[in-house]
Symmetry: C2
Subunit: 401 residues, 2 copies
Amino acid sequence: MALIVQKFGGTSVANRDRLFNVARIVATTRAEGNDVVVVVSAQGDTTDDLIEKANEITHTPSKREMDMLLSTGEQITIALLAMALDTMGVAAISLTGWQAGFHTSTTHTKARIRDLDTERIENELSKNRVVIVAGFQGINRNEDITTLGRGGSDTSAVAIAAALRADLCQIYTDVDGVYTADPRLVPHARKLDVISFDEMLELASQGAQVLNNRSVELAKKYAVNLEVRSSLANVPGTKVKEVVPMEGMLIKGVAKDADIATVSVFSVPDKPGMSFKLFSLLAQKKINVDIILQSSGRGDCRDIIFLVPLADADAALSTLEEYMPTIGGGQIVVDKDVAKVSVVGAGIQSHSGVAAKLFETLYEENINIRMISTSEIRISVIIAKEDADRAVNAVHDAFIH
Amino acid sequence: MALIVQKFGGTSVANRDRLFNVARIVATTRAEGNDVVVVVSAQGDTTDDLIEKANEITHTPSKREMDMLLSTGEQITIALLAMALDTMGVAAISLTGWQAGFHTSTTHTKARIRDLDTERIENELSKNRVVIVAGFQGINRNEDITTLGRGGSDTSAVAIAAALRADLCQIYTDVDGVYTADPRLVPHARKLDVISFDEMLELASQGAQVLNNRSVELAKKYAVNLEVRSSLANVPGTKVKEVVPMEGMLIKGVAKDADIATVSVFSVPDKPGMSFKLFSLLAQKKINVDIILQSSGRGDCRDIIFLVPLADADAALSTLEEYMPTIGGGQIVVDKDVAKVSVVGAGIQSHSGVAAKLFETLYEENINIRMISTSEIRISVIIAKEDADRAVNAVHDAFIH
């Protein structure tokens, strides 16, 4: 008898038939003798519909009230799924984020889990009930409802699996595993049987949509065995583990992230602490900055260029436009027509030829590289957005056969 | 500076424009220097839409999960109203039932308020915020979300007004006050400027939809000054008070309740405690029984006839059909084609001619009376449902000029 956490996303619970499909998966897992905790997202378009309701009122809603509004989405799903399991004779109980013990930071819409008090979940499991938890949400120290931001339900599931020392955390989605590239984009993309946390982390943070990087980080930290699999087809998915046997594959995946923008800041005075101040201003606005390039400087100034999420580009621009005049800095230019293409694999750190082969492949495709960033197991290039799909296919063909 | 509780029902907050209309009423009250607590229901059809979602899953959903599901309706409204007030520069904060301190009994879908912990509400008021509370809902001692049942938002509003010793509790609705009869039914119906708690209580419990009787009971118990008024027209409403000056009106209103059924139980053995057992069984199922008639008995049996809410008629039937054979009782007949027509007024207790005039009026209309029930300030008759509208008009014409 094992304890299994199963997470189902919005498309997996989008309507009555999908909900019963999920209920059947849960009931089967239960019938095999396992304890089950289920984490669910809001149904299909529910979150978008709620955002639309808010937009009818104001385009700058309070983040606290957005959390109050959006957290109803998962609450609807948990109640409906508990009802569906009940009709199948499976004892089940739904819990909101706060009932399930998710205590978070106070930052609304992007809260982080501070502590998970599993008393209620364990209590319900001891009554032989399937416990259905609303993902994506928690409560802060003011007793206000918070949400965890993008991919939050994955994080909720992994957090429960970690806290309960679950044997397995299954992330059910609309694809049947982790692929070497987006199959909609690259026809030859292959499904991986297994991938390491570090490789998954690089793929996730480089734009592969299948798993959110916060959830993979958490799984790595607490050594939670993850499995990404399909809620629609009953086929083995991709296991994400700490140590992965060598498979002879140098590169595990090619990822594209088109939801980015470059911000170029010209003529920043070359004084100590100046770039620190600039980035701490962005950090205060919760804007994540990625891949920073700094020119070697001409005269007493430097140019700085970096990436931000596309959604934060305008906020970054206005923040800097307010700040730059106070330090005598120059122009700020935002370019939203860019994309990041990354190759990921543990083999990169031991094979020196990967970077050369990547650049050669792009050169042959006549694709211009604007910025480069590397880690031990990843190489990313920033290119024009219009070249991105062509680049992903060419790179995948070059590295994965 | 006064403290005013304002409650707005589902039609008053049904869409963006209605929400801003409510926000303007609240903002005006605030601008006049008052502290304001707002209680709202779910928007328009939201509750019906959620019930439909549940019905797609099962027609016998768990009541706990129904409460989990339906409580999202008010939570959506409070967030949107807080956003609307924010756009008008009025500081506001939304609170769910449990955040607002509503502790209830454990009975799902029909919970009763056990205790209201006003610490959070008072804390937010002290920060000069309008506090927007989700009506209809609370939390029980298991930390499960409960709902208060029909008219629950009125009860929430009065409970807050009582606990905070508010100066006034305004119930905003889609009519502009309490009428002597339903104006859609009786063209000559008059709006009352003032009515006593007892008269309002009788009108509410006899089917006048404008105020739920639980909320009036609570207002009477804690001497909360109520006002029923329109959210759409800025005209004085009807005040509900403890003591009402004589206005020379014998009858304050004529009410119709068509959501009832009669249950006839034949041949109940005439033994001590038998009818007590029968009604305690119904009480266990939370079925309210009204107007009980018991035949004087023939042989060792009696017939018992009583009223139940229409929605509970089938449950009453199945409960009794299970029980009657065990005591050798006879047939059970449910009649759903009945209605209750009531005249209400403090004058009834001091004027002996009211009953006679009522019966004469119905006789002249050729309407057959099946059952009669009286209190000090009310006379009700049970008649065929098809006669009800004609009866209300005839009785209104006879008593109210």
